[in-house]
Amino acid sequence: MNVLRFLRGYFPILVVVGTFAWSAIVIASYRARENPPRTVTLRIAHWQLEPGVRKAFDILAEDYRKLHPNVRIVQDAIPETTYGQWVSTQLMGGTAPDILELGLGLPPNIWVAYMGRYFLPMTRVAEQPNPYNAGTEFAGVPLRLTYKDGMRESYVEELQDYMKIPLSQFGVRIFYNADLFKRLTGMDEPPLDYREFLKACDIIKGQVNDRGQPYIPLVGSKYHFALWDEMMFEPMTFVGLAKIDFGRDGVPDKDETFVAFKTERVGLDFPAFRARLKMVEQLRPYFQEGYTGLTRDEGVFLFAQERAVFITTGTWDAGSLIEQAKGKFDVEIMGFPMPSADDPDFGQFMIGPRYERPLSAFPFGVTRTSEHQAEAIDFLLFLAGKKQNEKLNSIIGWLPAIKDTEIEPFLAAFVPNLRGIYKGLDLNVGGESWVRWQQLYSLYQVGQVSLDEFIAEFDTFVRERGEVDFLERRNSWRRDAHRYEQLTAGIRATALLADPAESEAAWMRYRVAITSRQIGYEIGKNKLLHLLDEGPAPDAIGPYEYTPEALAAVRARVTGQPAKEEKP
């Protein structure tokens, strides 16, 4: 009886305690099955929510476990929009995963600071052979030399160390619905000639589907248009480099472009710049209406729904697009159409294909708080092994980062072009000027302002406002100088504290850092300020235009006659 009374009185509490005990036992036994004693669990975090990536990591993790049965890999897939904040809280809270994908969601200088503080340097790893390349042609070869780009992008100059292990390469091309293209145009393949491509777009645009909705030749959105800009429109300004490259490094610079603009060496009516805008004018009718306000997903939706034929994006979307098209239509890939050399609008500017530097991406670092640093590094080396890297990227549908790897046949179009032209003018002085540019450019992209209106309005704005923004950039130069001073102080401290065996190399790195960044830093910047002070010089000889002295010297040498004054 006492027992019954006890049970009646404490029944609810007994149910709660019993349920808790049961669930604790179930969880503990599940964990014991998943994590036998001495199991090492590695957490790897990234922002790649594409299904192919997570699947690839799971498969490679299983392959790794066959070699290392006590190592279990767990993925944390974090949305892009929150990745930066999530990384910050994890790193600062000391709860970061063992392995983290680097690069998204935070300004570059913050990533550099985080890498210096929270991540292990990978220089020793980069200099050693990858054990997972045993039996391949890369056996005994330092890891960095097995990469297509020599692990160039993994080296963080501010820290003077390799900090990342990248796993893929990316490229941008045009994907298209091959079935729809054939049905609408009758052509087997889209033309690579620019004018023929426009004709094909005209044919597509003139047709409707069975719901009466017009077919859209080119998918547009803010995201997709930026890729058209980068791959088609900006390289048109390559010849502008001849007017603006005062620093003579062959690379356009915002400050140089502004100074050239302000001193009337170039203007927005510079022929190459007009050509860039003219190409936008010719292509914009083929995007869907209102595209400038759309997001990336809205653009992809049109393609997946078979309303649009062409979509430009990178290899990072390849697997996803093919997956969405599966069973519905065939997705093919093409390069960007090129104007011919005698094209009346663009032939003189598009003097070559677009240059693409082969850079490794999809980079990972190992956190200092990892309790299994050796295992984390080992897993990354596994993924960077030739065979494993090939398999990883084959599953995802991306380009491997390692040399001499096989790529999926449909990715052959993404092999980077190493000989070509690139952007020659960069008007992004920042601040209000950049905001105004984006506002006007958006209106121009949808035809709400004409080319001449756009040029006139932005020209006026930059001439009035641009100097204010440029002066703020001057302040940024000073801040940069302070930042480099911090960095070089760190490199010097490393040299001061280096072991005798490392001291020579450490001091050499310090000297390289200060002579390449700090000594003479003001000279190049002041040169630009002096050009501004000198005022307009519309007829000034550009950095890549012959001086009279140069022409005279060439003529004298070629003809054997004494040199005399030449007109430029």
Binding site: R152, R248, I421, A481, R492, I514, T515, E549, A550
Partner: protein, 245 residues
């Protein structure tokens, strides 16, 4: 900071340990962002220099003080005379020490910053003297680079180009750094030889080096265009000469 303060207070006067702690405090107050305190930093640098006057850290402390004169916060301009004098103190006390040689280079760069011919002549003479006295200096490449700048200010592009070439040939190269390559220097030399001086053979030499040594560099295609351009210009001039009576 707490650690540095602890060591500074416990370490014996005149010890390297105390100097190191003071240097650490100085560097932290100098270079931390935000909440830097340059007055405090300067004081600690001075103390570090006085704590062990002949030490490594005395040299680096004096250099840091000179750098603080030049690297003023945004909104403040450095006093040119004070900058030169600050570097001169380091040069006078530690002329053969790396800090002293670095100070010398910063001093000449400061002279060249305004592209004023009088200062450029002073800098050029000083740099020539430096290279005579320190021919084996690890900073020789930087000195030649600054001489090139001085010659440009003085309008002698031929001499400037020669110095740039010597600077390139004597440059230290960090084999670990894949981003520190000579492509930009090759390009600069080639374009200056071509467009400023008409020295096409030299230009061709450096364009070809760029193409051969850095086949993936973005300047390869422009270098190939340059080689064609020079050939075409020479051919055009030959034709003109042949058709001129």
């Amino acid at each position: 900071m707490t650690n540095f303060e602890g060591v500074a207070s416990r370490a014996p006067e005149g010890s390297e340990e105390r100097a190191a702690a003071l240097f650490g405090l100085a560097t932290t107050w100098d270079l931390r962002r935000p909440n830097e305190d340059t007055a405090r930093a300067a004081d600690f640098y001075r103390q570090a220099a006085e704590a062990a006057p002949e030490s490594e850290l005395a040299a680096w402390s004096l250099l840091a003080l000179a750098r603080m004169e030049e690297l003023k916060p945004v909104g403040k301009e450095p006093d040119a005379a004070a900058v030169l004098a600050g570097y001169q103190k380091v040069i006078d006390r530690f002329s053969t020490h790396p800090a002293g040689q670095e100070a010398f280079l910063y001093q000449q760069a400061a002279r060249l910053a305004e592209a004023e011919p009088g200062e450029a002549r002073v800098a050029l003479a000083a740099l020539e003297g430096f290279l005579r006295e320190h021919a084996e200096s690890r900073y020789a490449s930087a000195a030649h680079g600054l001489m090139g700048t001085a010659h440009t200010v003085l309008g002698d592009e031929r001499a400037a180009l020669s110095e740039s070439i010597i600077s390139l040939e004597t440059r230290e190269f960090d084999p670990r750094n894949p981003k520190r390559d000579n492509a930009a220097s090759y390009w600069s030399i080639a374009t200056r030889a071509e467009f400023l001086l008409g020295e096409f053979d030299r230009a061709r030499d450096y364009y070809r080096r760029l193409i051969k040594e850095y086949p993936e560099d973005q300047r390869v295609f422009p270098s190939e265009l340059a080689l064609r351009r020079m050939d075409e210009l020479e051919e055009k001039m030959r034709r003109e000469a042949a058709s001129t009576p």
